[in-house]
Amino acid sequence: MRDIRDRFTFLFTSTKGLILVGIASISLVTALFGFLSGPMEEFGVRDFMIRTFGISLVPAEREGRIIMLYHAIAMAVVAIETYVITSLVKMRREHQATINSTITFGFLLSMIFGLIFAYFGHNYVFHGLFITGQAIVFFAGVMLAWVLWPWRAGYRIDDADKARTRGGVDLERVAFFVMAVAMLGSAIFGAVPGSMFGNGFRTFLAEDVVRDPVKTPMQLAIIGHLHIMLALIAVALSLIIGRSFDFRGRLHKIAMPLMIAGTLIITLGVWMVVPFERIAHVIINVGSFPVLIASLLLVYFGWRQTANARLAARGLARPSFGQRVVALLGDPLRFGTLWQMVYMNVVVTALGIFMAIRLDEVVRQWPHREERVALTGHWHVLSGIIATIILLYYADLAGLKGRARQVFGWVVIVASDLAFGAVALFETKRLYVSESAQQSLVDMAILLTDIGLATVLATLGIFLGWRLIDLFKRNGRWRQELAARPTSSEQEVLK
C-alpha cells in the first residue's frame, strides 16, 4: 500500500512525475483520437474504433468535437508548462504545491469529461465538468500570476549577469509574469465568445470563416483567442528553455526587455482585433519581431553554451568550426530544443509571412479550401513543434543518457522535421502543381508525414513504456526522482 502511495506521490507531487502524467495524458489522447482520422480512417481503423468504443460521431457536431479535443490537449500543455515554471522560478513551496495540484485536477477533469462529452454522447453533467475543469485551470493561472508578481522584495536579484532593473527587479520574472497575465486575459478573451457559441453548440472553425468579409466581434475574438494562446504557449516555452540553459549575460539583458515588450504588444494587438481589425495585424507583426529576436538570441546563447561545454569536456581549447558543430550536435536534446525553434521559423514563420505578403496575389487566387489547408497545416505544424520541444526538454530533465539520449533525440528531431517539412510542402502544393497533377506530390507528402509522425509517436511510446516499466520497479528511477525533490532549480524556492 505504501508503495502505491509513493508512486502516486511521485506522479502527482514531483515536477518530473507531473510532467510525465501530462505527457502520458496527451499521448493517450493523441493515440486514441488519431485513430479517427487521417490514414487510420483510410485503413478502416476508424470504423473499428467507432464500433468497439461506441463512439458517436454526429456529422453536424464535428467542429464542436474538434474544438473540445483541442482544448483537452491544450489544457494539458498549459499544465506541463506550469509545472516547469513553478519548479524553475523562485516561489514558496506551498505555492508551488497548491498551483500544481490545482491545475492537475483542472486539466484532468477538463480532459476526461470534455472528451467523453464530445465523443461518447451528450450528458450535460460531463459538459459542465469540462467547463469546471477549465475554470480550475484558469484559477491555477491566477494563482501563478499572483505568485510570479516580480516587484515583491524577496524576488529582487543582484546577479549582474541577469537582466534586471536598477532596483533589482528580475526582468525574466517580469517576462514570465507578463506571459501569465496575458494568457489569463486571452483565456477570458476566448471564454466569453466561447460561452456564446459553445452553449448553443454553434461552434465554428476559424479557417472556415477566414474569407467572410464581415466577421462578428465574437468570431473575431475566437480567431484572436486561438492565435494568441498558441503564441503565448510558445513564449512560455521560450522562457522555460532559456531558464533551463541558465540564459544570462549581455544577450539576456537584450532579450528579456524584447520578450516583455513583444509579448505585451502581440497580446494587445490580438485583443484589439475586435474593435480595430484593420490595424490589429500591423500591431501583432510589430510585436512578433522583438519576440523573434529574443528567441534567436536564446538560440545563439544556448548553442554556444552546449558546444563550449562539450568542447571543454574534450579539452579542446581552440576548436575549429567543424569541431564546434560536432560538439553542438553531440547533444541532440540540448541542441534539439533550440533547433526546433529555428525550424519553426522556416516552416511556420517564414511560410506565414510569405502567405501574408502574397495573400491577395497568390493565396486568395486559390479556392477557399486550399487556403484552409494552408491555415490548418500552418498551426498544426506550430503545435507539433511545440510538442517536440516539450518532449526533448522532458527527456533531458528525465536524465536520458548515453545511446538512448542520442537515439531519442535524433529520432524526434529528424522524424518530426521530416513530417513538418512534408506538411509545409502539402499546404503550399498549389504553388508547385495544379489540381490534376498533384496526386503524386500529395501521396508522397502524406506518406512522409505519416512516417515522421508515426516514428515520433513510436519513439515516445517506447520512452513512456520505459517510464511505465520503471514505475513497477520497487526502487526504480521514479524513487530516486522522488527522493531528489526538490530539483536543483527548485532549491531556489523561498523558505
Binding site: 456529422p59 474569407r211 468579409p213 486568395r364 479556392p367 502543381v433 497533377a437 501521396d443 507528402a445
Partner: protein, 297 residues
C-alpha cells in the same frame, strides 16, 4: 547516411513536382440510366437551413436539374453560343460578357467590372472537350460526366442560355436536403459507395488513384456496374450528385467579396466536406477539374 537521406528526399520531391497532369482517360462510357436533361420541382416553403438547422424558407417553387451539367450539354451550348456570337474565342479561352459587380472596397475585394471574362480555358489538358475550329464535342466516353474546368462566368452563361440561372445557395440547400435536418442528401450516414469523394474506393479511383476521376452524373443510384454496387444518393426530391463528384457554382453575390460560393464537395475532398452545409468559394474566373455546376429555373 544523412546526406543520402536528404538527397533521396529532394529527388522524390523533384520527381513528384515534375509529374505531368493526369490526362482524362476514361474507363469507358458508363450508362447510369439517369437522364441529365431532367428537371425536378422543388416546392416553396420552410426547411432546416445550415449546420444548426436555422429556419430557412423558399418563397416560390423552382425547378432544378437532376444532375450537374454534363460535358455533352456544355459542348452543345458552346457551339450555339459561338454561332450566335454570345461567346467568342480569344486566345486560348472562350470568353463571354458579364455585366460586372458593384464594388464596395472591402479588404481583399477585387473589382469585377463589366466586360468579357473567361468561361473555359482551351489549352488545359484537363478539359474534356474536343475542338474542331469553332465546333466542340465531348471527349469520347466523357459525354455524361459533369462539365468541369468551367468558371462561374461560364456556368452562369450556360444557365442563362437555356433560360435558367445558377441556384442561390438557399435553393441549392433545400434541393439537397428536403425538409428534415439530414447531413447528407441521402440521409445520415456516409458510405464509400454512395458518393464520389477522396479515397472513396470507387471504380474510378481504382483506375486513377485516390483522387480518382469524376463519375458519370447520376452514377450513384443503387445500380451495379460490373459488380460495383452503388447506393442511391438522390436527395428527397430525387436530385443526384448533390454531395461529391464536383463542387457546384451557386449564384450568390455577397457584398464585400468577389468570391462565388461552391457547394457539395468533390471527388478530391474528404467525406466531411460532403455535408450539405459545407461551403467553398473561389474567384468567378477560377476553373478546376473538381468544379462543375447545375442550373435552376
Amino acid at each position: 547516411m544523412r546526406q543520402f537521406l536528404l538527397a533521396s528526399f529532394l529527388l522524390l520531391m523533384l520527381t513528384a513536382g515534375c509529374a505531368g497532369p493526369t490526362l482524362p482517360v476514361s474507363t469507358g462510357h458508363v450508362d447510369t440510366g439517369v437522364d441529365p436533361e431532367t428537371w425536378v420541382r422543388i416546392p416553396a416553403g420552410p426547411f432546416a437551413l445550415g449546420q444548426f438547422n436555422d429556419p430557412g424558407v423558399i418563397g416560390t417553387d423552382f425547378e432544378i436539374m437532376v444532375t450537374p451539367v454534363t460535358v455533352a450539354q456544355y459542348a452543345r451550348y458552346l457551339n450555339d453560343a459561338l454561332a450566335a456570337g454570345t461567346a467568342r474565342i480569344e486566345g486560348n479561352q472562350v470568353v463571354g460578357p458579364y455585366k460586372g459587380d458593384v464594388f464596395h472596397g472591402h479588404k481583399h475585394e477585387e473589382r469585377i467590372d463589366p466586360g468579357d471574362y473567361v468561361q473555359i480555358p482551351l489549352d488545359a489538358p484537363e478539359l474534356r472537350l474536343v475542338r474542331n475550329g469553332n465546333a466542340f464535342a465531348a471527349l469520347p466516353s466523357y459525354e455524361n460526366h459533369p462539365m468541369t474546368m468551367v468558371s462561374w462566368f461560364g456556368a452562369r452563361a450556360y444557365c442563362e442560355a437555356i433560360g435558367g440561372r445558377l441556384p442561390m445557395q438557399v435553393e441549392w440547400e433545400k434541393a439537397a436536403r428536403g425538409e428534415d435536418s439530414r447531413p447528407f442528401p441521402w440521409g445520415d450516414t456516409l458510405n464509400r459507395n454512395v458518393a464520389n469523394y477522396y479515397n472513396s474506393s470507387d471504380i474510378f479511383e481504382k483506375a486513377f488513384g485516390k483522387a480518382g476521376d469524376t463519375t458519370p452524373v447520376g452514377f450513384y443510384n443503387g445500380r451495379s456496374y460490373d459488380g460495383y454496387v452503388t447506393l442511391d444518393n438522390a436527395s428527397p426530391y430525387g436530385v443526384y450528385d448533390m454531395a461529391g463528384n464536383v463542387w457546384q457554382w451557386t449564384a450568390d453575390i455577397t457584398e464585400g467579396m468577389h468570391y462565388r460560393f461552391l457547394r457539395g464537395g468533390s471527388k478530391a475532398d474528404y467525406g466531411y466536406m460532403l455535408r450539405i452545409w459545407t461551403r467553398n468559394n473561389a474567384g468567378p474566373a477560377y476553373y478546376s477539374p473538381n468544379i462543375g455546376f447545375r442550373c435552376v429555373r
